[in-house]
């Protein structure tokens, strides 16, 4: 592959962009942490302490758990299952989701490389989750399961939103579509060779995949560990969806109808 020379100002601007994107992510993370703290009925004044723990955990996750996890995967987990569960239990849920997901993804990638067929990620997960039905199980399940969080069908040039699906409550879909389109244009302009499109933006909590079609593009945010079969199936479904839309363009001006179609083709299918 040919390498394009790196322009230092562009590079710097990209750094800034990354910081901006992550800043918003961090805000979300903080909001989440507050919510979870409430839910878990922790005392009010432990909140700064917990935040510190989370940060620490986020930074040192591989150090704390990396070995354990690598080990466990290597010896097919069985014995240390409880340890991992125990270690994760106190910090619960979404707070660690981010760190775990990125670590597990990294680990599975490298493990998959070396032990290709022997362990599928599903097998590993099954072993992880099998057994006791307690809160920790649910947490783990939640951590790994690949889930479609957001879908945006966007007009390529104008960045106007044609239709969408959202699992949670996203700030303002119109603005996100516009900014996403701008960021996409910026990145394509600055970093890609002619004719090459931006396809994946990795955020900390989720992965955003972009698929370009002639006059529209479809952006999908997923959380969890995206294994190959999930990705493949998703990609097929996206292509089906795009085909339906591009064959009947009235979908692009009828938001409600398109939203229903998205649910039917991507979420329920």
């Amino acid at each position: 592959m040919k390498k394009t020379p790196v322009d230092s100002t562009k590079d710097n601007r990209f750094e800034l962009l990354r910081e901006l994107l992550l800043a918003e992510d961090r805000d979300k993370f903080e909001a989440l942490s507050k919510e979870v703290i409430l839910r878990e009925k922790l005392k009010n004044n432990v909140s700064p302490l917990v935040d510190e723990k989370i940060l620490d955990l986020r930074e040192k996750f591989p150090e704390y758990f990396g070995d354990t996890i690598t080990q466990t995967i290597k010896v097919q987990i069985r014995d240390s299952q409880d340890e991992v569960v125990e270690a994760l239990y106190p910090i619960m849920g979404k707070l660690v989701k981010k760190a775990i997901v990125s670590e597990i993804t990294k680990l599975t990638e490298s493990v998959n490389k070396t032990v290709k067929e022997k362990f599928s990620i599903q097998e590993i997960l099954k072993r992880f989750i099998r057994g006791k039905k307690n809160d920790a199980d649910i947490v783990l399940q939640e951590v790994f399961e690949p889930i479609i969080e957001e879908v945006f069908v966007i007009e390529k040039d104008s960045g106007l939103l044609s239709g969408s699906y959202s699992r949670g409550n996203i700030a303002d879909k119109d603005m996100v579509s516009g900014m996403l389109t701008a960021i996409k244009s910026f990145a394509e302009d600055a970093f890609s060779k002619e004719g090459q499109d931006l396809e994946d933006i990795k955020f900390e909590t989720f992965q955003l995949s972009i698929q370009n079609f002639k006059s529209i593009y479809i952006a999908i945010a997923c959380s969890g560990v995206l294994n190959a079969s999930f990705k493949e199936e998703l990609s097929d479904r996206i292509h089906n969806l795009a085909e339906i839309i591009l064959r009947d363009r009235s979908f692009l001006s009828e938001e409600e109808r398109l939203n229903t179609l998205i649910v039917k083709e991507l979420i329920e299918a």
């Binding site: 601007r13 800034l16 962009l17 901006l20 800043a23 007009e155 390529k156 040039d157 104008s158 960045g159 106007l160 939103l161 700030a171 303002d172 119109d174 603005m175 516009g178 900014m179 389109t181 701008a182 960021i183 244009s185 910026f186 394509e188 302009d189 600055a190």
Partner: protein, 161 residues
Amino acid sequence: MIAKKVLLVGNFGVGKTSLIRRFVLNEFSEDYISTIGVRVSKKVVSYQNETIKLMIWDVAGTNGDEKIPKAYFLGAHAAMFVFDLSREETYLTIDKNLKMVRDLSGLKDITIVGNKKDLLSATEIDNVIQKVSVDIDLITSAKEGDYVEDAFMKLTAQALK
């Protein structure tokens, strides 16, 4: 609801962001403008019994050489060119600048706005109007909120044409 993409363009520091700040409440940080050269805002407006969703693209002004992705101009339904009444260099080359915006966006009519009217006397403003080679649609002050709404309404009307 109908949605329209509209652009705000013009030289560095003429007041584009200030005009938008007067007109909408924003969710995205203004830091995006200096980083990627644009920030998108949204405002729902009523115009002749219709409700329109305006997606406003605040494109960073440049002094010439810095590049802004051409894609920012694509698919726009209207554009506002803003200049600073108090700084000649922001309107002396208006013909050339307007041509560039027209070429990139494919738009014919562009709303022309002279901003910072609070810095000039009525006579001085008249002088500027004489000097500017194109018809000015509105004279505004983002600082005092004068005619800001009108400027965006004019832009909405363009977008609906």
